[in-house]
Amino acid sequence: MFPYSTLPENLAAFCDRLRREHGFRVGPRELADAARALTIVPLADERVVRDALRPILSHTQADVLAFDAAFDRFFHARPFNDHADPLQQDPELLSVPARSALHDAELDARSRFGPTQHVADAHVYATDAGTADDLEPGAVRLRYSPLEGEAPTPVLDPPDEEWRTAARALVNRFEAGLSRRWRPSPRGQRFDLRRTLRGSLHTSGEPVLPRWRARRRRRARFVIVVDGSRSMGESSIAALQIASAIASATGNVEVFTFSTAIRRVTPEVLRAAAGARVRLPALQHAWGGGTSIGASLKNLLQRSADRLLGRDSVVILASDGLEAGDSAVLRDAMSRLHRRSASIIWLNPLLGSSGYEPVAQGMRVARPFVTTFAWVGDVASLLQLARTAGVRA
């Protein structure tokens, strides 16, 4: 049943598999800890072994979700089924004696909100390489859409000095308010008794030089969402280049691309900003397919709103606004973005072409929530944006 004959070999091979196929950050330390853990727990019970290895080898929620399937696949050579409906696996739901109406209601509610929600999530939010293969069979039908496709992944060049300067101007435009934290500063408003006393050691206890403290400025957080759908063409790469320029000016940046699914590409953009030439990883449904802005934004909001948005957040949306999905979803997502951010900048490549009016369904719906509406094709237009963009009143 096990691939190798001894426990350490099996454990090492399992860790290796986790690292290579599932992207777990598992090194010698985790391996050693896992081996120690197995000397502590009873090995006869597979569930205990599983429970013991899980906290050691996984480091994020995504790891936890992938762990059980990987464990099964390695130790039982069982097929993947990690997106099965958790409610279905909960036998208590079915075994608790109750009135049948109640029971039916639950099943009903489950069929309405449970699995559909689940599949829709997987559909819109391709979290990791390999998700496409891990879905239950029923999901495949829902995933397929003639509008979806996968284009070759784009390459990001590091931004040059001109772009960096212009991006810095934009970032500086959004200096937010004051932090609550008092820091030493030569031109502060608050007298710093402790530092003054400390400094007076040089002058035999006479406080000659007063020291001050001031509150720092908070930095704005830029949340950049780039439409990678086919209709954007080269513009999506241009938008990613703008993102990397902004990332070179402030570290406080999160970048996502979406087409029919949304995906975080912050690490790649940050590497490009640091001066590397970066090929983006396989973006699957977040690149080169149809456009579902509303569903993608909704997914982003549901998953990461607390982490990303706040009074210091500037949301930059780069999209042509040719929404293929439900415009009510887009309106709802935009209004939530609007409420939870300081400013929304919509970069629309179509603005570059003459005679364009934002009358497409998607744009009409989104427009009331957008603070600044522009397109950035070159350095001059980014500087222009840096002069005009603002925080909404």
Partner: protein
């Protein structure tokens, strides 16, 4: 060495229902001397688990609440400057020589121990709870890594203080920002999800003695349904406990539409979420006993008992 089943039963005695996986993780924390990073939705008992762990082990709980702007001094130690100044003034005439006076004012009496230093100077290994570590800044996280790795603190004036016993560390995070890989790799990771139906019923019974079986089951089911709705703030265990207490205070022994309407504020704490529930009336509907036609405008039942028991209408 305390094993997982013992941990489970001792946690259960203190009203904390831990599943096997969580008990195993806690066992490993004790056995491997590694910190445990607990993540999960708000209100599932992440902080509570550390408190109960301290209680089970019979040691002190030392809590470091993280917040934006928390710096290393606030977490480690500070010199009590005003007291030092006063001491210098008071002993100016004592005639003692400088080195001894200096040694005096940089002695332990003038040291204000903050949680991290406090944790490594205990006689028995305490439980150190580093709460909401995601709220602290990244530089603080880097500093924390150093302390977690070495368990020693150097105070220039006093020398290096080494931990007599490494504390058992529990970190919690609500994921308001991503923690660094380095911190994650130093810790055991546990994702604490919402409890299953039977776990939630067990929690309700464990925390609220005297709760009717039927009400507990109905609350747990309703919670399960709430968590499948597209809410902005899904209710946690804390909310179910509040709700159960509220319903008991109102002398309800089962859920009905009026009871839900009266006490919805215990469960859904965002206006939009209450609207979402209104737009999904079918979700809870069949769970509730009262048929909609007995409702007066405003959602109150005409047959309300005003908390006095069943109204007999003859």
């Amino acid at each position: 060495m305390i094993d997982a089943s013992a941990i489970r039963s001792r946690f259960a005695e203190r009203g904390f229902i831990a599943n096997e996986a969580f008990a195993t993780a806690l066992q490993l924390v004790l056995a491997l001397d590694k910190p445990l990073l607990v993540e999960g939705p708000a209100g599932v008992g992440k902080t509570e688990s550390a408190k109960v762990l301290a209680d089970v082990l019979g040691t002190r709980l030392i809590r470091l609440q993280c917040y934006e702007g928390l710096d290393s001094l606030t977490a480690l130690y500070e010199w009590n400057y005003p007291r030092q100044m006063l001491h210098i003034r008071l002993t100016e005439a004592s005639g003692a020589d400088l080195p001894s006076r200096e040694a005096e004012i940089f002695g332990e009496a003038f040291l204000l121990k903050r949680p991290l230093l406090e944790a490594i100077t205990q006689d028995r290994p305490p439980v150190l709870l580093i709460d909401e570590v995601d709220r602290a800044d990244e530089p603080f996280e880097a500093f924390l890594l150093e302390v977690l790795a070495e368990w020693q603190v150097t105070i220039p004036e006093l020398g290096t203080i080494r931990a007599r016993h490494a504390p058992h560390v529990v970190l919690t995070s609500n994921r308001t920002r991503e923690l660094s890989d380095a911190l994650r790799r130093r810790c055991l990771f546990f994702w604490l999800p919402y409890p299953s139906l039977s776990e939630e019923i067990a929690i309700l019974h464990a925390r609220i003695p005297g709760l009717a079986d039927r009400l507990a089951a109905e609350i747990a089911r309703a919670m399960k349904i709430f968590r499948t709705l597209p809410l902005q703030k899904a209710p946690g265990v804390a909310e179910s406990l509040d709700w159960a207490r509220a319903l008991m205070t109102l002398h309800r022994d089962h859920l009905d539409a009026a009871a839900v309407a009266q006490t919805l504020g215990c469960v859904l704490k965002v206006h939009e979420d209450q609207r979402t529930l209104d737009s999904h009336p079918e979700a809870l509907g069949p769970l509730l006993d009262t048929a909609p036609e007995t409702l007066a405008p405003g959602g109150h039942s005409l047959e309300t008992d005003f908390g006095l028991g069943t109204v007999d209408r003859r």
